[in-house]
């Protein structure tokens, strides 16, 4: 119980709340652990609450009839997911699976809504949370519709690089999963990485990628394509 409060206190969604609120949140939530690859829910399932990642990683994705998948979001520690069906009352809009061994807090719908009704700060935090997610989705739509795969890849490499600081980047997902994240397939991703490598934009060593020509990569990200 006390350690759950500790976990909750650090989350952006719960920033600025009173001690009493932390306790109330800790009282309504349930901690659950999952092995890698476990399914949390499937599109259409009735949503009885939402989740927050304590440790690990959760993949939210859509699947086509042929089995191709598009990752909508990868959520890590401190991030929450599954709120949409809490507030609309409809089923989940996508599938969720753990990408690695994962610990989650589950917040039941009705109890959480009751808390929100009593605490405007919590409500505003949640509104900020969903707004951020909308911004992210708008970016994904832009990328899928207006950029080619090299452009999306370049943007992702720069994103990784910005998180780390230096010019050496370690992919935080398998290349297959990265393909799903970028809206393509492994073969295509592989070819484009090879092309960037040949042109001296990057130096490929497995999951380690060195950004050799940052300006060139930035241009590809901006223009959305790699001039042939």
């Amino acid at each position: 119980m006390v350690d759950i409060i500790g976990q909750i206190a650090g989350m952006p969604l719960f920033a600025g709340l009173s001690k009493a609120q932390y306790e109330a949140l800790a009282r309504i939530c349930v901690r659950r652990s999952f092995r890698k690859g476990e399914r949390l829910f499937t599109e259409g399932d009735e949503g009885t609450g939402f989740y927050m990642v304590v440790t690990g990683r959760v993949k939210i994705f859509k699947v086509s009839v042929e089995g191709k998948e598009q990752i909508l979001h990868l959520f890590g520690p401190g991030e929450s997911f599954g709120e949409v069906s809490v507030f609309t009352g409809q089923g989940f809009p996508a599938d969720a699976v753990t990408a690695v061994q994962t610990a989650l807090l589950f917040f039941p719908r009705l109890a959480f809504v009751a808390l929100i009704q009593k605490d405007p700060t919590l409500a505003l935090n949640m509104l900020a949370q969903l707004s951020g997610r909308l911004r992210h989705f708008a970016g994904l739509i832009e990328d899928l519709s207006l950029k080619e795969v090299p452009g999306r890849l370049a943007k992702y490499l720069l994103y990784l690089s910005d998180r780390k600081g230096d010019g050496e980047v370690a992919l935080d997902v398998s290349k297959g999963q990265l393909a799903s994240l970028l809206g393509t397939i492994p073969e295509t991703l592989s070819r484009i990485l090879a092309r960037m490598n040949r042109r001296g934009l990057i130096r490929l060593r497995g999951a380690q990628i060195q950004l050799l020509d940052r300006a060139g990569i930035e241009q590809i990200a901006l223009e959305g394509k790699m001039l042939s």
Copy 2:
């Protein structure tokens, strides 16, 4: 003033509020009219509030460096937009332009946040609103990534048909705009409509489209492609 209250009362975002709340909302908002094609804001602009459509139509979209546009959403009467930057404090994530002559209500950020803090119902309505928008975006991402243009078009035709009831559908946007909505260009859309016409799936007469083979169209929407 009184007529603004009347307009507000009917909006889903404001459902279930007290008379006093309607009056407070009416007090903080400003009504503004725009001619067709006027720009309301541009991506990156600081958001000082959000808008609600009274009459007319607003197009929210992204543009690529080459000038191709992807429509994120078309908002009509009773729908609101621009909330994202209200709750994150960052700039608008996309561009907004009126698609026709349009009347809007503008709600200033700080005044509205103050109201939300006092009224949990308003907060929950807004959460439902944003959640619905996330669901819509998830669907758009799915379509762009996992369906081909015929699949997206079929889905849109069925959507129009479901709104109307019968098998005769009138496009509510120009074909050029429909292309932007579906993530393609006018030439491609034109070809695919012609192909569906040739195959007896639809009967094309300008902006009037008759759905002749609903089952066939549903299959294309589901599979995401038109088997050649």
